[in-house]
Chain length 348, copies 2
């Protein structure tokens, strides 16, 4: 597949092969920072939008018309496969996913069933098929990791402490384990459907794993995440394993899987890469909040990230988390150009 | 002062001197986990309660009647000194401090003035004086650190990304710097008043510093925090420097100051202590969510913390953050007994 894309920098970087410029894309590059996104989406329910392939295509393509990104990411939400099997989810603006009633015990498990992508969410594969026909850059598919999905189901809404998630982990470890097992199956089916429809890369978002200590992550979460990576390893596309606030878990997340490990802004990139090991690619790690300031701060911090990556094969430039809604589009555009210009090297 | 208290374990531990048992106390030990607290507080505004010394005394003493804690912590809130100078703050149940309007630019700075504890918040010193007459254990006074206070003022309400705080940092670094300077003066005045009234220890809560990367913490936050620690170093009481999600900042926080560094549950205690260095005391680090589960999990995780502390002089047992509201009181009680029993050694 790699050879068929005019721009395969992302695929090469994730395989730690030489590139002519460091690839760059942004989490939430299709999103509220773009006026055309706000105009198109209006007040529509995001989960409804995700069910309309022509809308998904348009929203996925919007940022690519603005700047020469090295990847597209399927416009979607990590809640899509759970919504598709009937979990009562709505996405509230400024608040995130709300699940009513939340899943708090074994009876909640009965509300989950396995995902049959062809019948439950045919619109996902359809959007992917439409996109890959048009794109000259890799298309990234994604899913939430079992723990992060579980935390949304259990909390039912936003949380800072994840107290209810951990309460289930500590009080009903067998239920917690079954829940993550069921979710891992759903995640694998969801990712497999995207790969079979044509995505070139997958990213697993374990956004909230960083709230766990090392023992709990290793004992209760890592086996399920590892099973997801094992299942998709045979599909022939590189995988990125992403989390936030995971400075204390990077070696364990690496062991769980992923050709590239996504890191937020907290650790300097070189320190993080040293912990992960240079036999893996790394994705990151500019603080998205920097883009809310003046360009000179963006430039200074972006150059620091690039200096720490030191043109080593295997760096994918990205923000440490999603683009914030108030981000000036111009900063994203200039940042893409900066990354490409400052990392240009002889074509491999 | 140390010699006058029948139980001075906390003071000894913070000075890294031998103790007969590891001292233990809990952040939010006076709080919603206690039925008598909920009964006493009812729906009263917490900032109003903080202005009534007899209520503060009662709420501070409540947990001590339940279990043989090695420290009391003044019932208060980090917003008290800001409320005392007229910042429009209310504490919403389940949401935390809400500031309307929030501070977003240089005009917001004008709403702040210096704190004169004797006239602005005489009730703080009064409560401390009443308490130290009664207590046979150290009383801990506290304040929010300049950055954490600033983040509340700027966000105006709860935030996961702290995007507005960082936007000010990157967009108006001079305003941000002035804000933290003003707040540092307020913090020093607030802590000094508590020490002069008789508290034996102070804790500085930089609860949200962990959202920053190392460079921003070092350049923009650390100088103000260091100034607070320098100012209180001459007051003769040991100081604890606490944060959450600070695995990547521990060495910098140590350099900013504190006889003891408070750490959350994310890093194992021995790893965190190694980073901090054994020439400082450490406080922590059981995940408060563990107490929501069954006792055997609490026991197992508490014993792991103690094993990692290895009876080294300078460990203060605590949770990694405040007691969660749904915590069974019995778990707190058994945990205090466990820590004392398992760490008993010949009297120094």
């Amino acid at each position: 597949m790699t050879g068929l894309l005019p721009n395969d920098r992302l695929l090469r970087a994730l395989r730690r092969r030489p590139v002519d410029s460091t690839p760059v894309w942004f989490m939430r590059q299709a999103g509220r920072s773009l006026p055309e996104y706000r105009a198109r989406r209006g007040d529509a329910d995001i989960l409804e939008t995700c069910r309309r392939p022509e809308e998904v295509v348009e929203l996925t393509l919007q940022p690519l018309r603005r700047m020469p990104l090295d990847a597209a990411i399927l416009f979607s939400d990590i809640m899509v496969p759970l919504h598709a099997i009937g979990v009562p989810i709505r996405i509230e603006a400024g608040r995130g996913p709300v699940i009513e009633p939340p899943l708090r015990d074994v009876s909640g498990l009965e509300r989950l069933r396995s995902l049959e992508p062809e019948t439950d969410e045919p619109y996902v594969a359809e959007a992917v098929r439409l996109l890959v026909k048009e794109l000259e850059i890799p298309l990234i598919g994604f899913a939430g990791a079992p723990f992060t999905l579980a935390s949304y189901l259990i909390e039912g809404g936003p949380s800072r402490t994840f107290g209810r998630t951990k309460a289930l982990l500590f009080k009903e470890p067998a239920v917690f384990d079954r829940l993550l097992g069921v979710l891992a199956d759903i995640v694998v089916a969801h990712l497999r459907a995207q790969v079979e429809a044509g995505v070139h890369v997958v990213q697993l978002f374990d956004s909230w794993a960083g709230v766990l200590d090392r023992d709990d992550y290793r004992d209760m979460v890592m086996p399920h995440t590892a099973r997801v990576f094992e299942a998709i390893a045979g599909l022939g596309v590189p995988a990125i394993h992403f989390g936030v606030g995971t400075s204390h878990l990077l070696d364990l997340m690496r062991d769980a899987g992923g050709d590239g490990i996504g890191v937020d802004h907290r650790l300097p990139l070189d320190d993080a890469w040293r912990v992960i090991g240079h036999d893996r690619a790394i994705q990151g790690n500019l603080d998205p909040a920097v883009l809310l300031g003046y360009w000179d701060a963006v430039e200074r911090k972006a150059e620091d990230v690039l200096a720490r990556a030191a043109l080593r094969d295997g760096h994918v430039f990205n923000l440490g988390h999603g683009v914030l809604p108030d981000t000036p589009v111009e900063h994203l555009q200039r940042l893409v150009d900066l990354v490409h210009a400052e990392t240009e090297r002889p074509a491999p």
